[in-house]
Point group: C2
Chain length 111, copies 2
DNA sequence: AATTAGTACTATGTGTTGCAAGGTACTAAA
DNA sequence: TTTAGTACCTTGCAACACATAGTACTAATT
């Protein structure tokens, strides 16, 4: 039996970084909020994936964060893009479009 | 220092399977030939990546192969899609378009 | 006939990543 | 004070791409 779920998961890899940076470029957000926004566009991500990724992006200087009190629970960690992050995001945008172009060319070739 | 090369490599992951199956749907091919075709569309893949992937696809029943003599070197292993492979490729096509759509939605959202 | 270059296939070890699973901590309502 | 809800964090595992090194076959050169 062949299962395409695994491959679909594989295809998602690598684009998460792009998506998270994109979401943050539209405004600061805390992890649970980011997961919600990704769900809206059918990109399901779980905590065990997101938290380590955010930490990695913070450690490489693409993100920073600030704590903010919440009226409905524990404090939230709002992440935001750094200047380096903004620049980097532009590069990733380009890479994404190049990839889409390359794959579509390969898929559609009928010669 | 931030390096987008790594992320670009990550984004390529997962779509390779789709690309290889697509190439084979256009006609049987041997590994070196597949690498050449991928290069044409700017998807650089090396042997250490391709051979294990082909073996995996063969073991899951998506591909088979036949040996064919060559006049300019050792015999070539021509890979071809099985019926299951053809069906599976259609699924992957869909998954790919869904992913592109989801990512583009996330990227382009400006609300 | 032996060596070299070119082509082709194969195997091993490593680093990165996504994810499942489990855990901690704060707030508010019952 | 217990329970439910929200939020953040850690650990261990499996899959994958890739670098590296190696084997084997053919043909041309010496």
């Amino acid at each position: 039996m062949v299962n395409s779920e695994n491959t679909k998961a594989q295809m998602r890899k690598g684009v998460l970084e792009l998506c998270i940076l994109s979401i943050l470029s539209q405004g600061d957000a805390y992890p649970t909020e980011i997961i919600e926004k990704l769900k809206e566009t059918k990109l399901v991500v779980v905590e065990g994936t997101l938290y380590p990724l955010l930490t990695r992006l913070k450690n490489t200087g693409l993100l920073t964060y600030r704590w903010e009190e919440s009226t409905s629970g524990p404090p939230r960690k709002y992440y935001m893009l750094t200047e380096i992050g903004v620049t980097y995001l532009k590069e990733l945008h380009l890479s994404w479009y190049e990839l889409v172009d390359a794959v579509n060319k390969t898929i559609n070739k009928q010669d």
